[in-house]
């Protein structure tokens, strides 16, 4: 599904936390390019810089130096509001802890990003129902997170992330809280979304089994890209 169009580009991205002697370099000049339609797994030990990269990719953080361009736009030059708008219209997020709104139905959870987009009520409902059907939760619309299993909750979260038809789906350890069987279901789902719907997926994971579902695996170590393999099975 790689269309060859450049979606994301890192050029010498550095991220430094703190100042002076207490400063810590999380990223030491990362070069990276991801095209539309890719399914990328990011791996690496903790402190390797993968979470920092994810935050920068998701426009939640900005590089200390270097260039991050998203769809050709220099994100470093955007202010907080512009970055929020970029997230709103082009990015979908899936978190390890699901982060659904409690005591709120699956449908209302999925509708949330559409509310911020100002989508009309009827259209909003229709799109949310479609997204829930895509993740295999048809018939569970009125259930609240408390009434759903972990795997189902993560499906709702994925539905919430894809309901806006984003350019990229950013998943931060989406299977971290799930058992192996549920994890495989989620990975199958992501795989389908990537191959059938053409959604670009960037996913952080600890588990080589999960990374195996991706078409490309990037390893981070000490704030730098260590390996970057196409279609490769992880070690």
């Amino acid at each position: 599904m790689n269309t060859g169009r450049r979606l994301i580009e890192f050029k010498g991205v550095r991220k430094v936390y703190g100042k002076g002697t207490a400063s810590m370099q999380a990223l030491r000049g990362v070069d990276l390019a991801i095209d539309e339609g890719e399914f990328v797994a990011i791996m690496g030990p903790s402190g390797s810089g993968k979470s920092t990269s994810m935050n920068i990719l998701g426009c939640l953080d900005t590089p200390t130096s270097g260039l991050y361009s998203f769809k050709g736009v220099d994100v470093g030059k955007l202010d907080r509001t512009q970055r929020a708008l970029l997230r709103r219209y082009y990015q979908g997020f899936v978190f390890q802890g699901f982060n659904l709104l409690n005591r709120t139905s699956a449908l209302e959870n999925v509708e949330l990003p559409l509310i911020y987009r100002g989508t009309q009520a009827r259209q909003r409902r229709e799109q949310a129902l479609n997204a829930l059907e895509t993740v295999g939760l048809k018939g569970w619309e009125s259930h609240t997170p408390g009434e759903l299993s972990g795997g189902q909750q993560q499906r709702v979260a994925i539905a919430r992330a894809i309901v806006t038809k984003p350019a990229v789906l950013l998943a931060d350890e989406p299977t971290g809280n799930l058992d192996t069987a549920r994890s495989r279901e989620i990975m199958e789902l992501l795989n389908t979304l990537n191959s059938t719907d053409g959604i670009t997926i960037i996913m952080i994971t600890h588990e080589p089994d999960m990374a195996a579902y991706a078409k490309r695996v990037i390893h981070f170590r000490d704030g730098l890209v260590e390996t970057d393999k196409q279609n490769g099975r992880a070690d």
């Binding site: 907080r80 929020a84 709103r88 997020f93 982060n99 709120t104 209302e108 509310i115 911020y116 806006t164």
Partner: protein, 401 residues
């Protein structure tokens, strides 16, 4: 977009319905208390005004003694009938003069008895005090002159002695005086001082002096001033006349007092209004406390929902969206509290008005004001927590446990 924000706020309130209710309880009680106080106070003021109007606002009261306040005297010499006659003759702006003496006496009919106020006066008394006769007749001139044993009784006395019906042309006993009931007074209800104005027996003054008090004293003179004449002018005329008749030298203080019903009315309504204002101010403090309650809960709510705020910011909510969400939530909460308070106050003041026997007067102004005020409390006390939520860093918020 604003509608969507209100929708989100309503969803958030519904998710925590019990806590939301407890949060706004302060506002509910504050709004209900203020509106009830103002409504009851307004009713009481109107009632006092009505009662004073029913007493005749152009009435003057001439009482012996220095000015000590209504109903009090310092033991100066009482008046005589001749004083009343002189006022009627000399002062042109007076339409009716009633010399009045009264005493508490037990009235007896058959085996029924009732202690009431027996008032000795003339027919002018009815005019001055704005009373009318419901059945029977007034005193005749000869009855007044000779001090005949006849009486006109108030509604309370009639009920106590005769039950539901009758009374006219019966004989009742007042101390040693056995007298014929020749008239029945129209009921007047309670006076502004809380006295039953129907608990009265009226007899000719000369009969009262001879058979009940045993002296020639007149304890006060009630007068009615012409509608278009100035009561101030009449008051000063009477004062000059009475000073002369009571032989007061220029250096002496008055040993009598001419009271104007308008003054009394002003004093009484002034008191009710002051009390209303005071009680409303106390109630308004509870509104403030309610506002602080909302701020407190909103801060708790922001802290509790830090992750939620992080998620919202991550999926594309602007700082402004989050600010508006929490602000609208606070305003919707406090406005709902205001509405509940208004409903409660409407029911409460309606029943309180009945209980306190004051008229219930719906006051749209205070209801609208209380609602706007409760909404304003939401804005003021919701702003700080909302800004705190909006300024959260999404990364920190998402990591928050």
């Amino acid at each position: 977009m604003l509608w969507n924000t209100i929708l989100l706020a309503l969803r958030a309130i519904r998710r925590n319905i019990l806590r939301s209710f407890l949060t706004v309880l302060g506002i509910v009680i504050g709004v209900a208390a203020v509106i009830t106080m103002v409504t009851i106070g307004r009713g009481a003021t109107v009632q006092v005004q009505q009662q004073i109007a029913s007493m005749g606002s152009n009435m003057l009261m001439l009482v012996p003694g220095k000015r000590l306040g209504p109903g009090q005297s310092s033991g100066s010499a009482p008046f005589k009938i001749s004083d009343a006659d002189a006022i009627a003759k000399e002062i042109g702006s007076i339409v009716a003069v009633a010399p009045v003496s009264s005493q508490s006496v037990m009235a007896i009919f058959g085996n029924q008895n009732w202690t009431t106020q027996v008032t000795g006066t003339n027919n002018q008394y009815l005019k001055v005090t704005n009373r009318s006769i419901r059945g029977g007749r007034e005193f005749s001139d000869s009855e007044l002159r000779s001090g005949a044993a006849v009486c006109i009784i108030g509604e309370t006395v009639r009920k106590k002695l005769f039950g539901g019906q009758g009374g006219l042309e019966e004989k009742i006993r007042l101390q040693k005086l056995s007298c014929d009931v020749i008239g029945l007074l129209e009921a007047k209800g309670q006076s502004s001082m809380g006295m039953d104005q129907d608990d009265i027996v009226v007899i000719p003054l000369s009969a009262f002096q001879r058979r009940i008090s045993g002296n020639q004293d007149v304890s006060m003179i009630q007068l009615s001033v012409k509608q278009d004449a100035s009561t101030e002018k009449a008051q000063s005329d009477i004062r000059t006349l009475m000073r002369e008749r009571r032989h007061l030298s220029a250096s002496d203080d008055d040993n009598f007092n001419v009271m104007d019903m308008k003054e009394i009315a002003k004093m009484l309504t002034g008191t009710t209004q002051l009390l209303t204002a005071l009680l409303s101010a106390v109630a308004a403090v509870s509104l403030l406390v309610g506002g602080i309650g909302i701020m407190n809960i909103m801060l708790v709510s922001v802290t509790e929902r830090i992750r939620e705020i992080g998620v919202r910011l991550a999926i594309g909510a602007l700082e402004y969206d989050v600010l508006m969400q929490f602000l609208v939530e606070a305003v919707v909460l406090s406005s709902l509290g205001g509405l509940i308070g208004i409903a409660l106050a409407t029911a409460g003041s309606f029943f309180a008005a009945r209980l306190m026997q004051v008229p219930y007067i719906f006051n749209p102004g205070i209801n609208v004001l209380a609602f706007l005020f409760s909404a304003a409390i939401g804005i003021i006390f919701g702003f700080f927590p909302a800004r705190r939520a909006a300024r959260l860093d999404p990364i920190d918020a998402l990591r928050h446990e």
